[in-house]
Subunit: 216 residues, 2 copies
DNA sequence: AACAGATAAGGAGGCGGTCTCCGTTTCGTC
DNA sequence: GACGAAACGGAGACCGCCTCCTTATCTGTT
C-alpha cells in the first residue's frame, strides 16, 4: 500500500535503474517459503531457518524484511486484498445490516487466524503504531465501524459498542482459541458470547453501580 | 499446594535433615526481586537479569525455579490465597447470585492482571496441563463454574454458557487490555461486552444457520 | 571445636535465536 | 566486455535460556 514494490516488475519511475531481477526473485521466493513455514510452525519460528530453507543468507532475508513484523505484513498483504474484496462483496450483496456485520466479523476472524499466533503481533501493532501491520489493522477497524454503524442504525446492534471494541474482541477471541481448554466447543462459545454482547440492543443494561465490590 | 516448601521453616518431616537456611533465604530473596522486576518490566524480562539483581548466579535461580512458569507460579501463590479468601468472602456475604458471579469475575480479572503479560502463560498452562500454573487455573475454573451454576439456577445467567468459557473470556479480556488501542475506554467496553454475553438469559439466541457466509 | 558428608551456590559455557557488517558476487548499462 | 552499483552471503557479535561441574557452605555428629 505504502510503496510500490508489489508491482509485478521492478519498473523504475524515471531514468532510474531497474530493480534487479534477482532481488525480486529472492523476495518472492522468501515469501513463499515463509508462508509455508509459518503455516507449519506458527509465526514464532526462527527467521534464520526460513532463510536457510529458502537457500539465502540471513542477511538477504533481513535486507528484504528488517524484522518479523515486516515479513508478516508482506505475507498478509495478499490476504488483505482478499479481505477487502470480501468487504466489498458483503456490502454489495448483503442487505441486512445485522447479517452483514456478522459476516464481516467472520471474515475478519478468518483473516486474523491465518497463522498460528497472529493475534499477538496484531495487538502489539495496534498499540505501538510503528509496525507495518498497524496501518492495515487501522483500516479494518474503520471498516468494522462502518458495518457496525449500519447495524446500529437499524437497531440490530447495541449503540454503546464501538468498532474498535469489536475488532479487539475478534482478536481476543482468536487468541483464546489457541487455548480452547482442550475442548472444541469453547471457540464457538466465545464467539457467541461476544455476539450476544453486541447483538441485542433491546434490554436495558444493568446499572453498574448496584454491584460494585465492597472489597478493594 | 503440592509440596510443603511453603511452610515457614524448612522443618523436615521425619528424621530427615533440615532445609538449609541459606537456601530458604535465597528463595525468598529471589522471589522479592522477581516480583519487583516483573512488576516493572512485565513477565517477559530476562531471568538471568533477575538472578543478577538478586545477587545470585543463574544456576541458583534455576535450581529453585526450573523455568519461568515455576517462578511465576511461586510468585502467584500468595495472590492465589488472596483470591481464595475473596471467593469465600463473596460466597459468605453476597446473597444475590448474579452479583456474586460478577464480583468473582472482577476478582479473577484482577488476579489475572497481576503482571503485564500474565494471560499468555496462563492460557498456555490451560492447554498443556504440565505447567505448575495449570492446577491453580483449573481450580479457578471450577470455582467459576460454581458461581455460574448458582446464577443460572436463579435465571441470572445464560444456561448455555460454561464456566471455562467465562474463565477464558476473562483471560482474553485481560489480554486485550494490554493493547487497549491507545484508548482507556476499550477495557471496560470489552468487559461489558462479555457481561452482556453471559448475563441475559431472556432472549432466544438467533439461529446460526440464517446468515452463514456464502463465500468459503 | 573440629570433622565429614550432604547440600547448595556460582558461573563458565553450550545452544539457539536475532540481527549487522563487510568482502564478494552478480546484474544492468554503456 | 567492462564498469559501477546493487544485492548477496555468512561470519560473528550479542543476548537469553538453561546445564554442568567445581567450589563453598551448612548441619549433625563425635
Amino acid at each position: 500500500m505504502a510503496d510500490e514494490r508489489c508491482t509485478d516488475m521492478g519498473e523504475a519511475a524515471a531514468g532510474e535503474r531497474r530493480q534487479r531481477t534477482d532481488k525480486q526473485r529472492n523476495r518472492t521466493h522468501i515469501l513463499e517459503v515463509a508462508e509455508e513455514f509459518f503455516a507449519e510452525q506458527g509465526i514464532t519460528g526462527s527467521l534464520d531457518a526460513i532463510a536457510k530453507r529458502a537457500g539465502v543468507g540471513p542477511g538477504t532475508l533481513y535486507r528484504h524484511f528488517p524484522n518479523r513484523e515486516a515479513l508478516l505484513a508482506a505475507l498478509l498483504q495478499a490476504r488483505d486484498e482478499e479481505l477487502e474484496a470480501r468487504r466489498i462483496a458483503i456490502q454489495r450483496e448483503v442487505t441486512d445490516s445485522r447479517a452483514a456485520l456478522t459476516q464481516w466479523l467472520q471474515a475478519l476472524d478468518k483473516w486474523v487466524t491465518a497463522f498460528d499466533g497472529l493475534p499477538e503481533p496484531l495487538r502489539a501493532a495496534l498499540t505501538e503504531g510503528t509496525s507495518p501491520l498497524a496501518l492495515t489493522c487501522q483500516g479494518f477497524v474503520t471498516t468494522t465501524e462502518d458495518f457496525l454503524r449500519a447495524a446500529q442504525r437499524d437497531g440490530h446492534a447495541n449503540p454503546r459498542v464501538r468498532g474498535r471494541d469489536l475488532f479487539l474482541s475478534t482478536l481476543a477471541t482468536a487468541w483464546a482459541r489457541g487455548a480452547a481448554l482442550a475442548d472444541e466447543s469453547s471457540p464457538d462459545a466465545l464467539v457467541s458470547l461476544m455476539r450476544t454482547g453486541w447483538e441485542t440492543p433491546a434490554r436495558q443494561p444493568t446499572p453498574d453501580s448496584d454491584e460494585g465490590p465492597s472489597a478493594p
